[in-house]
Amino acid sequence: MSQQNATAIARPKALSKEELLKNHMQAKPWPWFYSFLKKYLPFIIPGLFMVAIASALAVINPMISGKIIDEVIYKEQYDLLTKLLLLLVGLTLLRGLIRFSFTMLFEYCSQNTLYAMREAVFRRLMLEDFNFFNNNRTGDLLSRQTGDMDAVRHFIAFVIYQLLENGLLFIFSLTMIIFYNWKLALALLVVLPFTAYTTFRQSKEVKPAFRRNRDCFSSLNTFAQENISGNRVIKAFAKEDFEMEKFNKENAKFRDAQLASSRVWCKFIPRFEILSNIMTVVVLIVGGFSVIDGSMSPGDLVAVTGYLWMLNNPLRMVGWLVNDLLRFITSLEKIHATYIAEPDIKTPEEPVEMKQFKGKVEFKHVYYNSHDEDILTDITFTALPGQTIGIIGATGSGKSSLVNLICRFYDANHGGVFVDDVDVKNMNINVLRSNIGMAMQDVFLFSDTIEGNISYGDPNCSFEDVERVAKIANADSFIREMPDGYDTIIGERGVGLSGGQKQRISLARALLKNPSILILDDTTSAIDMETEAQIQNELEAVSGDRTIFIIAHRISSIINADQILVIDGGRIIEQGTHDELLKMGGRYATVFTHQYGEFENSVGR
């Protein structure tokens, strides 16, 4: 069977009709965005009505002012003043109230839509598999959730109603002009195709600029992220100058990208400006000539010029709004691209029902490769419930990959991994992983209290449980020596703790789950041997019928295992108990001699 086939079989994709439709809906950025916005339409539509009313009021207010000037001041109808003023003040208050309400309404909708979008994207991130995170930079993913989300916020909170407001003003003023003189209105419309064309060109040109802008932002973010987390190495190598030089480049690249997008904008903004002023010229020439020719009354022309600002402003705004709109679209596409990345590894449609595991683990002719590199080749073994499996082998020989396949962090390309005789690919991933306790080689601790870190797998557990597992992992005593004991906040990745301390906390964390299968991936490498021996004793006492996998380089860590796998170049080259392997006189025996030969010699056992 070819590898492609194997992968295809590994991922059954039998989706229901509804889901297919839903997937189709969300395959494009816009429908996806709409699916969030939809919920707030009951707010947005009234909001848009309010915008319409406010724009109408914006038109009416100057009319009242005009009336006061004409009727009250020039025609001396002073008794009208109170009435008109009350109307003016009332309408302004109303407009202020409406405006305040709809701006808050749009903010409300934008924040809630954003909340839902952030949640959806974050949830998707939680589901993505290890390959996704290996191939995506943290800074990029972070940018999607910060800078790009902000462009979405701005769109809902501001651009939507601005579009309507300006559109309405334009249509309204044009209608009024048609009402006065349709020929003049027609002449004004000549400008529209040019405007449309300019808008089209601007959106074409500004989009790549924005995309580049976003890319540079991401790249700056990624660089900053790496610099901050690598600060120890940078200091140790006194490479601050080098980092600054690199940062300056990123910083300059971002600045230049920003300037480049503003240049595109510079190119188009004056065009809109000129187009909007040409409208005035058209009104004056066409209108002026018509008045002179007698086909239009002078009063009408004066009235029409009163509407010019309403006609001009929206045109002037087009450039800005196109800009904002495209910034939004670019960001939306970026966010969406992160969102639609389907994890390769997910729970099948109908997973095999399983609750408590017995702990039998079986590898049947498992092959796994990544980046065209064979990582594991033809791995076959069976671990019975309650057994301890030791795994030893050279650096990069595939030990961690092997245990990662049990948790289904990666999928085998060929062959199968079975837990309790069920292929892990047919299980609910969450059920599978809940039953496995893993202390990883890279200890990752969260910036949280020590208690919070240990109880990571079960945040609601009692303090006694935390204490109990900490004792097993031989961590209790050093934790108690810390200033705030279990409440001590440790830094991100556990900085401030020594390697051995981190490993012990991570071991305690894995133990707290009380898993059927416990995997210790090089968990004691930074722990001194005395402590390790104590931990082993404690572990043995509580292991019960747990299946335990121990990856280690020190023979002492795996000597009591029921089965030891010696891995080299992705293959199992030796397999057996400590004594069997020693007798075999192969690789294992060599390693043993290297580690303890001296003892054999000096003590002469």
């Binding site: 001041i73 901050i228 992983r433 990752f444 209290t449 090089d522």
Partner: protein, 596 residues
């Protein structure tokens, strides 16, 4: 200071202070001429902008009644000309303001980054990294709008405000004074909103920082999260952070949106007052008032409140920006604890004679980590440091690179006190391999070369061969040019250690420090590695922290450290001879299991 985590707001100590803006002025200074030029441009364009209404008036009032078509064409042509000039000025203005704004942002970010490079480990250790990042990237970005358009527009708005004010005074002093009655009301409103608004934006920026920190950490820790099936709980935390950010934002923006109606209402209030008083003066047949004056004044009053409105909205965005600015300057003001002494010289080429003289040290006041530690190496010695976890082993070697300042005593290298030389010249001669092997995204070649930028490809390969990394590197699809991901996620832990080992070697250090540098490397590789190293280490002083005794057995001297003190000191054989010694106990413990 206690450590910060994702759900703790970082409280700001400083009070509202316009000094923040003054400091921003420092960044504006080098761009003064450009800035002034933009303002001049803006003034010209607003002056030109005043011409168009005049032309329109002339056309409507004079040319049309006269039937002067030529005049209409002439003036409209002039208008088109002015439009083009204004458009040109607009382009220049946008271009220049963006250059100014982006330039300031560039400088500000650069200063912030430069300062971050100088801050001690503790700064990074005490808060989630996402919170540092959000300051460096997002907060600085938030200033962009304020700096590019905000300042220039404000100055031009202020200018037009003054002009209009003068016009108003010229028309009618009395009406102007009435109009100004609105100002105290406005100031009161501004003052009322300001205090709340600043608070609200501070909270919002805190919540944003919390959320970002949590996202960043969640992405970094995703492997743990998935293996512990913690996705749902994390979603919960995320949602609660996300919703408090939403709440904070809505609260802050509420004050922003209050500003506009306030100005609008005050404006209509004063306008109404003008109407009432103006009209009453007209009916009273006052000499001071005529219909023409009143109408003219009313037209200006509209123009007066418009810039006031934009100024008010500028003010709100300023308050928003200050919340970020405070954070940025707070970071820039963070004291650098370890810095070069006044007049510090270069560290001369190191021979390798290291001495600790009665060194005491504590990370936090009152909690001694090292207690009167004294020891001395010979040139070319390999020093092994052993002892239980948390005994202070890593601290000793961290002090040697002067990552921290000691409380008392002295550390000398070749008789030179390390406090008296520049930090850079000291660290450049030290090769440190840390517990956490950090791999940068980039190629393997780049990662090794990080130790010495001038090294040739051959040098890099030689270093890789020395640490036995060459073989596995060559097996990867692009050999040394293979891109390893962020933190080297596609390498095994052992491979990462080997690469950072090669990196340390390439720096050609005079003193080599290996802090559990080989814990994830298998025994056979380690033996091969030690053979390769033996030659290299011959003339170099080295410090080794390790738990595998096969690694330390050959050291020239072994220090057994516990509770911040040196308990035993000597060669392997010497220490082993002390039957009741700690080292003896430690050494024998590794064979205990054989006798079990």
């Amino acid at each position: 200071m206690a450590r910060n985590k994702y759900d703790i707001d970082e409280t700001l100590q400083s009070k509202f202070d316009l000094k923040q803006l003054k400091r921003l002025g420092v960044y504006l200074k080098p761009r003064r001429s450009k800035f002034l030029f933009v303002i001049v441009l803006m003034l010209i364009s607003s002056a030109l902008g005043l011409l168009s209404p005049m032309f329109i008036r002339t056309i409507l009032d004079t040319y049309i009644p006269e039937g002067n078509k030529g005049g209409i064409v002439f003036l409209t042509c002039l208008m088109i000309g002015i439009t083009f000039i204004c458009a040109f000025i607009l382009v220049l203005k946008v271009k220049l303001t963006n250059e100014i704004g982006q330039g300031i942002i560039y400088d500000l970010r650069k200063d912030l980054f430069t300062h971050l490079q100088e801050l001690p480990f503790s700064y990074y250790d005490n808060r989630p990294h996402g919170k540092i990042q959000v300051r460096l990237v997002n907060y600085v970005n938030s200033l962009s709008d304020l700096l590019s358009n905000g300042i220039v527009n404000t100055i031009t708005d202020l200018f037009s405000l003054i002009i209009i004010f003068i016009y108003m005074l010229l028309i009618s002093v009395r009406l102007t004074l009435i109009c100004m009655c609105g100002l105290p009301v406005l100031l009161m409103a501004v003052w009322f909103i300001k205090t709340r608004q600043r608070k609200a934006w501070q909270i919002s920026s805190n919540k944003q920082s919390n959320l970002t920190a949590y996202i960043a950490e969640s992405i970094n820790g995703i492997r743990v999260t998935q293996s512990f099936v913690r996705e749902d709980k994390n979603m919960e935390i995320f949602n609660s952070l996300s919703s408090s950010y939403r709440r904070a934002w809505l609260h802050a923006v509420l004050y922003n949106n209050m500003m506009w109606p306030c100005v609008d209402i005050i404006s209509i209030g004063t306008t109404s007052a003008i109407y009432v008083i103006g009209v009453s003066m007209l009916t009273g047949n006052s000499d001071l008032m005529s219909a023409g004056i009143l109408v003219a004044f009313i037209q200006y009053i509209g123009r007066f409140w418009q810039p006031v409105n934009t100024l008010a909205s500028f003010y709100t965005s300023l308050l928003n920006a200050i919340a970020y600015l405070e954070r940025i300057f707070e970071t820039i003001d963070e004291p650098v604890l370890v810095h070069d002494a006044e007049g510090a010289g270069e560290m001369p080429p190191i021979e390798g004679l290291v001495e600790f003289k009665d060194v005491s040290f504590s990370y936090e006041e009152g909690i001694r980590v090292l207690n009167h530690v004294s020891f001395k190496t010979k040139v070319g010695d390999t020093f092994a440091i052993v002892g239980p976890t948390g005994a202070g082993k890593t601290t000793i070697i961290n002090l040697l690179s002067r990552f921290y300042n000691i409380d008392s005593g002295a550390i000398t290298i070749d008789g030179v006190n390390i406090q008296d030389v520049t930090i850079k010249s000291l660290r450049k001669q030290m090769g440190v391999m840390l517990q956490d092997s950090f791999i940068f995204s980039g190629t393997i070649m780049d990662n090794i070369r990080y130790g010495n930028m001038e090294a040739s490809d051959e040098d890099v390969i030689r270093a890789a061969k020395t640490v036995c990394a060459h073989d596995f590197i060559m097996q990867m699809e692009n050999g040394y040019q293979t891109e390893v991901n962020e933190r080297g996620s596609r390498l095994s832990a052992g491979q990462r250690q080997l690469i950072s080992f090669a990196r340390a070697l390439l720096a050609d250090p005079k003193i080599l420090i290996l802090d559990e540098a080989t814990s994830s490397i298998d025994t056979e590789t380690e033996i091969a590695l030690q053979k390769g190293l033996a030659e290299l280490l011959k003339d170099r002083t080295s410090f080794v922290i390790a738990h595998r005794l096969s690694t330390i057995r050959n050291a020239d001297k072994i220090l057994y450290v516990d509770h911040g003190e040196i308990c035993e000191e000597g060669t392997h054989d010497e220490l082993l001879r002390m039957e009741n010694g700690l080292y003896h106990k430690l050494y024998m413990s590794q064979y205990d299991f054989l006798n079990r």
